[in-house]
Each structure stands twice: as C-alpha cells, then as structure tokens.
C-alpha cells in the first residue's frame, strides 16, 4: 500500500530548513567570490607565468576536474588531519568548494582571454591605449563577457554540488532534509521540499548573475565582442 504524501509533517522543521538554506547560500557566495577572483589570477599566470608555475596550475586544474567532488571533500576532511591539519567540517567544505570552482573557472577564464584576437591588441596599441588600459578594456572585460554564461553555470553547479557536504555533517539544506527524514520518516516529502528549494536557488542565482552582469559588464554577455 502506497502511503499518501503529507507535507504538513514538514511544518515543525521550518527553522532547520531556513538555517540550512542560509548555510548553503553563504558557503556558495564565499566560494563564488573567492573562486572567480583566484581563477582570474591563475588564468593570467597560466598564460603569462614561468613554465613551472604554468605546469603547476595545469596539474591542479586537471586533478580537480578529473576526480569527484565528494572524494576531494573526504580527502580534505578525513585525509588532511593525518598530516596534522585538522579542519572544522564547514571549513573543509568551503575549501573543497572554492578549490573545485577555482579549477573550473581558471579553465573558463583562460579560454576567454585566449579568444581575444591579436588584432584587438594591435588596434588598442595603435589607438594609444596603455598596457593597463588595454588589459582592462580590451582583454579582461570582453573576455569576461564572452565566458559569462559558462561561468554562471559553473557557479550554479558548485551550489548544487554542495548538497554533498551534508555527508561531513555541515548543517546545510540537504542536512536539514536528512534531519527531518530521520525524525518523522517523511523521506520523500523532505527531499521533494529540498529539491524544490535547490531549483529555486539555481533559478535565483541565474537572475542574480544576470543583474550583476548588466551592472559590471554592460549587458552584452555571451555574445562575440567584436
């Protein structure tokens, strides 16, 4: 006999869910800001740095992109204490999320910078722009505009991936759903609720990125910059 869905059983746990959502949002926000900043630096170094640095960045990017997030998380949380580095769960989670996003974003930003044609740089020079002006107006901003949709997607993927950090007991949204399920055995309802909230978060994040893009890049994201 199938049991009926009863969402009212979730009502007493509104506090846990709200706290979970807040944690998911805060961790994602920090990982996004730090990740994109770090990626911009690493992408520049990967194109202009000394050979050793380039190789190191490449190794880091490949290592992160070719292993699952959950294994990276377990390595940081369970593995590093063996070396004497003990981390609180939420710190380990934040490091794993930031590391993960940085690796993907480095690759994305690098592709954007590489896509700026040589002619653009030459034109900037002819027009008398300084090196700094050229880098900012001719390379970085058009590059960011081009890769903005990919960057948005990647940040959303990291937010969705953060569901996994419930496995090391970080009290975020998935943890809240697990908590409810363990109390009233309403697994299905709890996970449906969490799933819908994640969906709302990813839609909200996309809108937020769109607004931020208009504000900082001038509303032409994802189109060729020529």
């Amino acid at each position: 006999m199938a049991m009926a869905l009863d969402f009212s059983a979730l009502a007493p746990y509104g506090g846990e869910v709200a706290a979970g959502v807040a944690t998911t949002i805060s961790l994602t926000a920090v990982a996004t800001l730090v990740g994109i900043t770090a990626a911009s630096v690493l992408a520049w170094l990967k194109l202009n740095g000394p050979a050793g640095v380039r190789w190191g960045i490449q190794a880091y990017v490949e290592l992160v992109r070719n292993t699952p997030f959950i294994v990276q998380l377990f390595f940081i949380f369970f593995g590093l204490p063996a070396l004497g580095v003990s981390l609180e769960a939420w710190v380990a989670a934040l490091i794993a999320m930031t590391m993960n996003l940085t690796a993907y974003a480095t690759e994305i930003v690098r592709a954007g910078i590489e896509s700026i044609g040589k002619g653009q740089l030459e034109a900037a020079r002819v027009l008398g722009l300084s090196r700094r002006q050229t880098y900012r107006h001719v390379v970085l901003v058009p590059a960011l505009r081009k890769i903005y949709p990919a960057l948005t997607n990647q940040c959303i993927i990291v937010m969705l991936g953060s569901a996994v950090i419930s496995q090391i007991s970080v009290e975020e949204l998935t943890w809240a759903a697990n908590f409810i399920a363990s109390r009233n055995f309403r697994n299905f309802e709890a996970y449906i609720l969490a799933t819908l909230i994640y969906l709302a978060l990813s839609i909200g994040m996309r809108q937020l990125f769109r607004l931020a893009g208009w504000h900082f890049l001038g509303g032409r994201q994802g189109r060729p910059s020529s």
Partner: protein, 218 residues
C-alpha cells in the same frame, strides 16, 4: 581486527572500480538512448511538445544529483516500490545523464545556421529529409567532443551512488578507511582511481575538439 597490507587496499579498490565502470556505462548508454528520444521529440514544431522536454532538462540541471538519487531511492520506497541501491542509482543516473545530453545535442542542432534549413527547403527537401541529410550529419560532428567530455561528469557522478549504499570505488574507500584508519592514503588512492578513468576521457574530448575544429571561436 584484520590487518590490511597496501596491496589488500589497492586490490580491493581496483576490484570495486569495476562497479564504477559498469554503473558509468549503464548511465551513459541508457542516458544516451533517453536523450536521443527526447532530442527527437524536442525537434517537433509544436510548443506543447517542446515545453515538457525543456522543463525536464531544466529540472534535472537545476537540482542536485544527490537529491535525484535520494528521491529515486526513498521516493519509490514511499510509493510502495522497494528498490535496491542498484536500481535507484541506475535510474537516477540515467535520467540525470539524459537531461544533460539532451541539452548538449539540442544545442548542436540549433548551432547549425538557419541558412542550411532554408537552402534545403529551396531544394525541395521536406522537414525530415532536411534533418536526415543536412542537419544531423553536421550536428553529429559538433556533438561528439562535448558528449565525450560529458562522460567525465557521468563517471564522477557515480561517486554519489556511494551515499545511498551502492558499493563502488568511493564506498569501498570509505569502508576501507573505517577498517584501517588510513584516510590520507585511501582517499588519495580513490582519487587516483577516478583520475585514471577520467583523464583519458578528458584528453580524448580535447583531442576531438581540436581535430574536428569546433571550439568556441572560429
């Protein structure tokens, strides 16, 4: 307590990698079949047919794979259908994969310039003929590299099946860690296992991208 030598650990991890590979293959092939169906359906000119496919893609791309696994595992249970971790993991991963592949393939079809459709029409080709002889051969070429690239995400996605109790590489690593308390070594080896599976796929995808010359800026 039983003692594990390094070889015991490595052997157990290698053996469990089989299940990661099997699950990945099922998810990728099953997801590919579903995606093919959805892509064909999505080609229909009717909005009422297109819309549900778009909603399906949006739903699976906008929610965590972990939630999809939980819903498949506990949800079907709540509906009175008892499922094993195998069934739930397979179901969730097939649906997850199909949504992403549908999106990729649909994008490839849309990337074919409208002039191709118009040209075929002028030549007197019907809609299906145009698809078959003009659009799909070109779209297929565009689709190969991103499809291979996405297979890496599928392999990594199977790691989440460990959370609902499916014994594959990650789960075996967790169990070995509980028995040996060597987390640094074991999770490094688990990561290495995934790297050995995924890196060749990544390299192959990049090679195809270069060979077929279909990267972002041309």
């Amino acid at each position: 307590m039983m003692d594990f030598t390094l070889w015991d650990i490595v052997r157990n991890l290698l053996l469990s990698m089989r299940w990661t590979v099997v699950l990945s293959l099922i998810a990728f092939i099953g997801g590919g079949v579903v995606a093919l169906l959805l892509t064909v359906i999505r080609l229909s000119p009717s909005r009422w047919v297109q819309w549900p496919v778009m909603a399906y893609v949006e739903l699976f791309q906008g929610t965590p794979l972990l939630m999809q696994l939980f819903l498949a595992f506990f949800g079907l249970g709540a509906l009175g259908i008892q499922v094993s971790a195998w069934t739930a993991a397979t179901l969730a991963l097939v649906l997850f994969t199909s949504a992403f592949l549908t999106d990729i393939w649909q994008g490839c079809i849309r990337a074919i310039p409208p002039g191709q459709w118009q040209g075929a029409r002028v030549l007197g080709l019907g809609r299906l003929q145009t698809l078959h002889h003009v659009i799909l051969p070109q779209a297929l070429r565009l689709a190969i590299a991103p499809t291979v690239g996405f297979s890496v995400q599928v392999v990594k996605g199977t790691a989440l099946a460990s959370i609902i109790g499916f014994v594959e590489l990650t789960r075996t690593g967790t169990m070995l860690n509980n028995a040996t308390f060597k987390p640094f070594l074991i999770f490094a080896l688990v990561a290495l296992g995934y790297f050995l599976l995924c890196y060749p796929l990544s390299l192959y995808a990049r090679h195809l991208e270069k060979k077929l010359n279909v990267t972002g800026s041309r």
